[in-house]
Amino acid sequence: MLLTDNDLQALWLTVRLASMVTAILFILGTPIAWWLTRSKAWWKGPVGALVALPLVLPPSVLGFYLLLAMGPHGPVGYLSKALGLGMLPFSFWGLVLGSVFYSLPFMVQPLQNAFEAIGERPLEVAATLRASPLDAFFTVVAPQTLPGFLTAGILTFAHTVGEFGVVLMIGGNIPGVTRVASIQIYNHVEALEYADAHRLAAVMLIFSFLVLLVLYGWRPAPKKA
């Protein structure tokens, strides 16, 4: 076997983290994207900017604030303690929470673009055919924006896999708990284990390329109504 047990453990943890974050963001990001598409409220702009913030913010800055929030004196920390969940920093669930924030725009923006592209008409048609708004979302909007959902899911997953700064700030480097692949590569380099770093880096490189290949190589023809 080319990869060490520690490497495999780190990869498996990375996959678990990315899957969990993608699943959570599908549930969380879809209504946010829908609201951003449809709302006429004045605070739509600020919310949109907030959602996009992780695109430009250095991950260490985001990680720093999350660390404070999740700490014993932060609001999230109080909440997690009160709920009996213990402290989140340096735990898997802390990583999940951090990654949800970090990857939020990668879920919301493709979805928002897809929702905007189909316009209001399909919803109006569905309403005249007796479909309630929720019904219309699942039977008309979702099927018509399926490519948008796929793009959003793939981007979110891939982006979470590639995360480093936030993990380092709030998760540290605990094997099997918070030591994801990108951290493991860092460890190899720190220890001057360049051969190990090479192997794991190659895995990440190939994975990232394949993901983008799927995204850009497979594009269904746009459907006309």
Binding site: R121, V140, K223, K224, A225
Partner: protein, 355 residues
């Protein structure tokens, strides 16, 4: 008591709608006007696609909107046809038809009937992208019918189509007119479509209703600034009375007289509509005798009014129970001493058989 009562006030930047209408609960009511007149907005208010802050709407006894209560579109038993067919691209034709039908409990019209009325049986397995524009719109109409609506709303269903496609769909709309028992509201800016399909006419301009009444009565009102331009005229309900096989002509009889027109191979006795444009009607003091215009009727001048152009007048002539409109120059009207109550000869140069 009106079968449909619709009262809406709406203030948008640059546009206001202010109507209070009583409409018949059966037959086709045309909402006619130029673009920007508010006809589509009115239809959308009736459908609940727009929400007029102040309004009242009741359809055949059911209140859909009042001060306290506003029924969302998906709870209104209506069928709606958009200007563009707006079929669901991810479903087949059959999937589109079933979409609404599955969501209603009442199946008065039913899928088979809707498919038959619009002649789309051979298209059911196709995806919308593989249909022509005319076929798409027929599916759109069938889809609206398949929910067994209590009222059918059509928003310029032919406007996006070329002449050929229009001709393809119009016969199906005639069928609806003849066979459906439900009221139909038909938004249009085309005098041809109104003349062919409507029983009742509402003329809208700048967000207000200028006129609201039975078709022939409304078309022949001279006090209305109905800007039909060259299309000013009237529509008569008639029956085919006789053929002249040698000359390929048909006689159409209306209440008050009859007119000869080109034979369109319709059997004797069939109900038709004839459209007589004001520009094709002229008046004479004495019987014109030998003339290429062979439709000559006796009528009584009913009213005279200014036309759009200052040199022209519109004259309303009573022929039996029917009314024709003639367009003449004001000079001709003065020289002929055209005045209300006077009996004159009415020459009709051309008659359009519609339907």
């Amino acid at each position: 008591m009106a079968d449909i009562a619709a009262r809406f006030r709406l203030d948008w930047p640059g546009f206001a709608l202010d109507v209070d209408l009583a409409l018949p609960g059966s037959g086709v009511t045309a909402l006619f006007g130029h673009s920007g007149s508010g006809k589509t907005t009115l239809l959308r208010c009736i459908a609940g696609l727009e929400r007029a802050p102040q309004g009242f709407l009741s359809v055949n006894g059911e209140v859909w909107q009042n001060e306290k209560h506003w029924l969302p579109t998906y709870k209104r038993p209506l069928g709606y046809v958009f200007q563009e067919p707006s079929l669901f691209g991810h479903l087949t034709v059959l999937g589109n038809l079933r979409y609404g039908m599955r969501r209603v409990s009442e199946h008065r019209i039913g899928l088979d009937r809707a498919i038959e009325l619009l002649g789309i049986g051979h298209l059911l397995q196709r995806k919308p992208e593989r249909l022509s524009g005319g076929e798409r719109q027929r599916v759109g109409i069938a889809r609206a019918l398949a929910v067994s609506p209590r009222i059918l709303l059509l928003d310029e269903p032919l406007a996006a189509l070329d002449i050929k496609r229009k001709q393809e769909i119009l016969p199906y709309l005639d069928h609806l007119h003849d066979e459906l028992k439900i009221p139909v509201l038909y938004v249009s800016h085309s005098p041809d479509e109104v003349a062919r399909l409507a029983d009742h006419l509402v003329v809208l301009d700048n967000g207000r209703a200028l006129a609201n009444g039975p078709l022939a009565e409304t078309l022949t009102r001279l006090d209305l600034p109905i800007r039909l331009g060259e299309d000013a005229g009237t529509v008569l309900e008639a029956r085919i009375g006789q053929f002249d096989r040698e000359w390929r002509l048909a006689r159409v009889d209306f209440a008050g007289g009859s007119l000869w027109t080109r034979d369109r191979d319709l059997p004797v006795g069939s109900k038709v509509r004839v459209r007589v444009l004001a520009r094709d009607v002229s008046l004479a003091q004495t019987h014109p005798g030998q003339s290429s215009i062979q439709n000559v009727l006796r009528g009584r001048i009913d009213a005279i009014a200014d036309d759009e152009h200052p040199g022209l007048a519109l004259v309303r002539v009573q022929i039996g129970e029917s009314i024709l409109i003639a367009r003449l120059t004001k000079r001709a009207a003065a020289e002929l001493h055209v005045s209300p109550g006077q009996e004159m000869w009415v020459q009709v140069k051309s008659v359009a058989l519609i339907e």
